[in-house]
C-alpha cells in the first residue's frame, strides 16, 4: 500500500485507486493524526485534503482531492461537521461542477455532546468519521453507485454516536499557548476534538465510572439497547497511555455486556487524535447486516487495516 502526494503538499492520493468506481474523499485540519491522511489506502479513502493544524483545508485542496478520486463514477466526500470544512467543501463542489464532476457529501455529526438531539445538524463529527469512511469505502470497493455509497455512509453515521472527555489541553504550535484550560484533577466531559467546550467540568473519576458516564450519554441517544450489535471504538486523543485506553475499553465492554449489547468489532488506539490532548473519545455504531459486512470487509491503510 502506498500513498503519494501529487500536485501540491496539501493532498494525498492512494495508489490503489481502481478506475470506474466511486471515489471516496475527505479532508480536515492537521493535528488529528493518523486522521485524515492515515486512512488513505486500499478499500478506504482514495484522496484526502490536508489543512493546517486545526484548520480546514482550502476549497482548492478539497477540489484537488475530488479530481484525483474521480474516474467518471462520481465522488463521495465524507467529512465532519465544522464551519470551515462545510464552507470549503461547498466551494470545492462548485469548482468540481464547473469541471464536470459529480460530487455528493455526507457530513458526520456523531458527537452527542455538541448539541441536543433536537439539533442533530449542529453536532460535530469526531472519531465516528472513521467508521463512516470504512462503510462508504467498502461500498465503493464493491462497485456500488454514488447514490448507494452516499446512502450507506449516511446510514453509517446516523447509526453512530460518540462522546469525548479531556483531562489536559493542547497547544496549536503556531499559537504557542494552550487553546483552553482544564484544571488539574478535573476532566471535561463532552469536549470536542479541538478543545470545543463540553457539557461539564468535573473531578476525574475511575475508569469504571468514566465508562459509565460516557455510555450514559451515548446509549440513550440513538438509542442502543439490549440485543443490539455494535462496533466499539476507543481513541486516545494523543497523550493517553495505551494501558489506560485498554483499561477503559475493558470497563466499557463489561458495562455493554451487562446491558446485553454485543461488541462485534472493537478498535482501540490513537486513531483520531487531538495533538497532545490527554483524553479519549468513545464511539459506538449500531450495526445491521449491511453495516457489519461493510465494516468487516478487508481494507488496508496506516490507520486501519482489516484482513478479510
Amino acid at each position: 500500500m502506498s500513498i503519494t502526494s501529487r500536485a501540491h503538499p496539501n493532498q494525498a492520493v492512494s495508489q490503489t485507486f481502481t478506475a470506474g468506481r466511486v471515489g471516496v474523499v475527505t479532508g480536515g485540519g492537521s493535528g488529528h493524526e493518523p486522521a485524515f491522511l492515515g486512512y488513505v489506502g486500499r478499500h478506504l479513502l482514495d484522496a484526502v485534503a490536508v489543512g493546517e493544524v486545526f484548520s480546514s483545508p482550502t476549497a482548492k485542496s478539497f477540489y484537488d482531492a475530488m479530481v484525483a478520486a474521480d474516474s467518471g463514477a462520481g465522488v463521495a466526500c465524507l467529512y465532519g461537521n465544522y464551519a470551515g470544512d462545510n464552507m470549503n467543501v461547498k466551494m470545492a463542489i462548485k469548482m468540481a461542477e464547473r469541471a464536470g464532476l459529480t460530487v455528493r457529501t455526507v457530513v458526520a455529526n456523531d458527537d452527542v455532546a455538541s448539541a441536543p438531539k433536537t439539533e442533530l445538524a449542529k453536532r460535530r463529527g469526531v472519531a465516528g468519521e472513521i467508521l463512516m469512511w470504512k462503510v462508504g469505502a467498502a461500498a465503493a470497493a464493491r462497485g456500488a453507485s454514488l447514490d448507494e455509497v452516499i446512502e450507506l455512509a449516511q446510514r453509517a453515521i446516523d447509526q453512530t454516536r460518540s462522546v469525548g472527555i479531556g483531562l489536559t489541553s493542547c497547544t496549536i504550535p503556531a499559537v504557542g499557548k494552550a487553546n483552553f484550560l482544564i484544571p488539574d484533577g478535573q476532566m471535561e466531559v463532552g469536549i470536542g476534538h479541538h478543545g470545543e467546550p463540553g457539557i461539564e467540568v468535573r473531578p476525574v473519576v475511575s475508569a469504571h465510572e468514566t465508562a459509565n458516564l460516557m455510555l450514559d450519554l451515548i446509549l440513550p441517544d440513538l438509542p442502543i439497547v439490549r440485543g443490539d450489535e455494535v462496533a466499539l471504538l476507543v481513541s486516545g486523543l494523543g497523550a493517553t497511555p495505551m494501558m489506560e485506553q485498554y483499561i477503559l475499553y475493558g470497563e466499557l465492554s463489561r458495562r455493554l455486556q451487562q446491558e446485553g449489547v454485543v461488541v462485534h468489532r472493537p478498535l482501540v488506539g490513537n486513531l483520531f487524535t487531538s495533538l497532545e490532548m490527554m483524553g479519549v473519545t468513545v464511539t459506538l455504531m449500531k450495526l445491521d447486516a449491511q453495516l457489519k459486512a461493510d465494516l468487516d470487509a478487508p481494507c488496508e491503510s496506516v490507520g486501519l487495516t482489516v484482513v478479510g
Binding site: 482550502t58 482548492k60 477540489y63 461547498k90 462548485k94
Partner: protein, 215 residues
C-alpha cells in the same frame, strides 16, 4: 471601457488589504483570533503574483477570477470560501455581461452576496460580513431601480455598507469563532464586516475615480 479591460480594480483591492492589515487583525483580536488582517493580506498578495505572472495583464473578470482562485487555493478556514466565492460569482456575472456598467455591477454584487449566503448560511444580525453586504446590495439595487446613475448607486452602496459595518458593534455574534463568546462579543466591530466595507468602498472608489463619463 478601460476599467473592464484591466485588473486595476483588483490591484487597488490588493493594495487596500495590505494597508488595512494591522487594523483588521486588531479588530479580529478583540473577539476572534486576531488573524483576519493577516489572512486577507496574505491571500490578496498571492493574487497579485498570479495576475502579474500572466503573459498579458488580464481584464477585470479574469483578475477577479484570479483573486477568487487564489483565495480558494491559499486560505483555508472561512475567508477562502466566503470571499473566494464572492469574487468568483462577481467575475462570472461580469464576464457574462462583457462590460462594467450600472447593470452588470448590480448583477455581480447580487450574485456575490448570494454566494456568501449560500456558503456561510449567515443572516443579517449574525455579526458577519453579511451585515455589510446585504444592506449594501439592497441599497444599490434600490438606487438602480430609482434610475440613479452608476456613481450615485455606488455612493449609496458605500454609505449603506458603512452603516452595516457599524451596526455590527452592538450585535451579539451568532456565527463563526466569536459566537463562542456569547454576550461578550457585544461592543466591538466585526472584522469581516469591516473588511467587507473596505472592499466595497475600494471598488466604488476605483470606479468613481475615473474621468467623468456616462457611468
Amino acid at each position: 471601457m478601460a476599467l473592464y479591460d484591466s485588473p486595476e480594480i483588483v490591484e487597488n483591492l490588493i493594495t487596500m488589504t495590505g494597508e488595512q492589515r494591522a487594523y483588521l487583525s486588531e479588530i479580529d483580536g478583540a473577539i476572534g483570533d486576531g488573524d483576519h488582517g493577516i489572512n486577507m493580506s496574505k491571500g490578496f498578495a498571492q493574487a497579485r503574483e498570479r495576475i502579474h505572472a500572466r503573459a498579458t495583464l488580464p481584464n477585470l473578470p479574469q483578475a477577479l477570477d484570479d483573486l477568487a482562485m487564489t483565495l480558494l487555493e491559499g486560505i483555508g478556514g472561512s475567508m477562502g470560501p466566503l470571499y473566494g466565492g464572492f469574487f468568483l460569482a462577481m467575475s462570472e456575472a461580469l464576464a457574462e455581461a462583457g462590460t462594467l456598467d450600472r447593470e452588470s455591477f448590480g448583477q455581480a454584487l447580487t450574485r456575490g452576496v448570494e454566494s456568501v449566503q449560500e456558503v456561510g448560511n449567515a443572516q443579517v444580525g449574525d455579526k458577519t460580513l453579511i451585515d455589510t453586504l446585504v444592506p449594501a446590495r439592497d441599497t444599490y439595487l434600490e438606487a438602480q431601480a430609482a434610475g440613479l446613475r452608476f456613481t450615485e448607486c455606488l455612493e449609496n452602496m458605500v454609505g449603506a455598507a458603512e452603516q452595516g459595518q457599524l451596526s455590527t458593534k452592538d450585535l451579539q455574534a451568532r456565527i463563526g469563532r466569536s459566537a463562542r463568546l456569547g454576550e461578550r462579543s457585544i461592543g466591538v466591530l466585526d472584522a469581516g464586516a469591516t473588511s467587507c466595507y473596505f472592499i466595497l468602498k475600494s471598488m466604488a472608489d476605483s470606479i468613481r475615480r475615473l474621468p467623468v463619463r456616462s457611468v
